[in-house]
Amino acid sequence: MGRQVAIASAGFCEHAVRRSDVSMPEMVKEAIDDCLSKVPSVGIEDIDMFVNGNMPAFEGASIPELWMTDWMGARNKPLMRVTTGGTTGGTVAIAGYYSVAAGLPGVDTVLAVAFEQQSQGDTSVGLSSVALGELTAIQSIGMPLQKMKRLVSAGAAIGIAAYQATNYMRKSKITEEDLARVVVQNRRNAAKNWYTHLKMPNVTIEEVLDTPYISYPLRFGMVCPASDGCCAMLFTTEEKAKDMADIPVYVNGVASVANETGIMGYNAGGGGQLDPSEQLGAQRSAELAFDQAGISFPGKEIDYAEVYAPFPNQELMWVEKLGLFETNTAPEMYANGTTAANGEFPINTSGGVNSTNAIGASAMERPAEAALQIMGKAGNQVPKTVHTSLGHGWGGIINLITMMVMADEPKRKFK
């Protein structure tokens, strides 16, 4: 059961702090047009099904997929909306994958679209639709929301990331300079990628360390921006992808694993964890996806990785937890240039979530960038040939991880 799935194309719209020049459907259409422009033989009429998603309530627009149905070209076709918090984009991509893998008659080619126009809404109020599950439960033991907000979700996702950061720093003995170095690499990479938000071609470690703390150890200069933007990915069968794309990218492994809730746990009885940087979800999702793809030594077999890191400590943590580098060696890899665009194992040369974060789209932009690096069509293309790559996503509160492993050869094992 199941069939091999391929990525035929991926596209973006230009991201910015405020895309007030376009309505939400108009912005989404820009990314779809970019995606289809890379596969000239494919028209909107060739798409059999659509998957769509963004964060719930961020823009105050309910059921946005119906608003933009015509703009996607989805009228009279199957259309499904998926939303899973910060990993929405990754889950939308995985839903696109499964829609093709299922092998239903008439569903061969699926367009997956993930977007966010944060400037339209109040992100903090929107986040409460994700975080309030936890916060209201905490109130049930008599802790008032006003005080809890400061403890758990200070600055929204950064509140969770700060605990991950302090734990990770203590264990691996890294410095704030190591964190700043990751930021510098990301922002300089973003300057070479056409659609990104924070382009800083000349930013230095000193400049990053000269900004105030938001939540120790994370400084203002280290955290992701809030962006407007959209990403689209075209999934299809192995056979059709060969006709559509010069270099089709085959999806060989997908996984989606959740473990502990953020800090306090859903029933306020604890998150079932002492160490938020342990990341069992990341470890398990990597195991599952690599197993499907037949990868035994990810550090050697994978050529390129896009990991979801709004905050620099997460980037160091993910590349270790996903098995790309040995434990406690990630900071060194950033210092010696291994992870640079021209390095041996480039990471996030797109600029990453740290430079561009249209939340609902971000977790799809990781596999999209990973696929484009194999096709040779990425905005900041690495000089080395990429055969195998991965795109990873992270969502807060319920620590939800999405993984998509892909290659230029079909290798998915169906047991």
Partner: protein, 152 residues
């Protein structure tokens, strides 16, 4: 088991939302400010949209931003209506007088917009009747520039 009401939020949550109307609606509202109705036409099926839109979903056809604009009159046909005593902001505590809300197809267009019918007796309202826009004296380039429709 004891039952307990754990969360009662009596305060107000302040949430500010913007709404980016986009390139096509921007033109529409600019024209409303000058008390004019414009639509745009699908190059394939010739359907005219009021308000204008980027894509004709029926044909999967993108209508270019700079082309296919149609100037329309401020008259139309009542396609459908309902009569209500209630305002959406009131929770059934206060009655207001009958108000008629109708779907109006602007002459020369293939779509309908929804506004109040003004100065029409509920006994006289009829589907298919001709109506005309009643403009606000001061227009701002927003939906409220149209006060409603009156009998033509």
């Amino acid at each position: 088991m004891t039952e307990q009401n754990v969360v009662t939020n009596k305060g107000m949550v302040r949430a500010e939302f913007n709404f980016w109307v986009g390139k096509y609606m921007d033109k529409f509202y600019d024209n409303l400010e000058n008390k004019k109705i414009v639509g745009n036409k699908c190059p394939k099926c010739s359907d005219v949209f009021v308000p204008p839109r980027q894509v004709c979903g029926k044909c999967n056809e993108t209508i270019p931003l700079e082309q296919n604009w149609v100037d329309l009159t401020d008259t139309g046909t009542l396609k459908n209506y309902t009569i209500t005593k209630w305002k959406i902001t009131e929770r059934g505590s206060r009655k207001v007088k009958d108000s008629i809300i109708g779907m109006v197809q602007i002459d020369g267009s293939n779509t309908a917009i929804i506004y109040k019918l003004l100065d029409v007796d509920p006994a006289d309202v009829k589907t298919g009747m001709k109506v005309k826009i009643e403009w606000n004296d001061k227009t701002k380039g927003e939906p409220g520039d149209i006060k409603g429709f009156v009998k033509a």
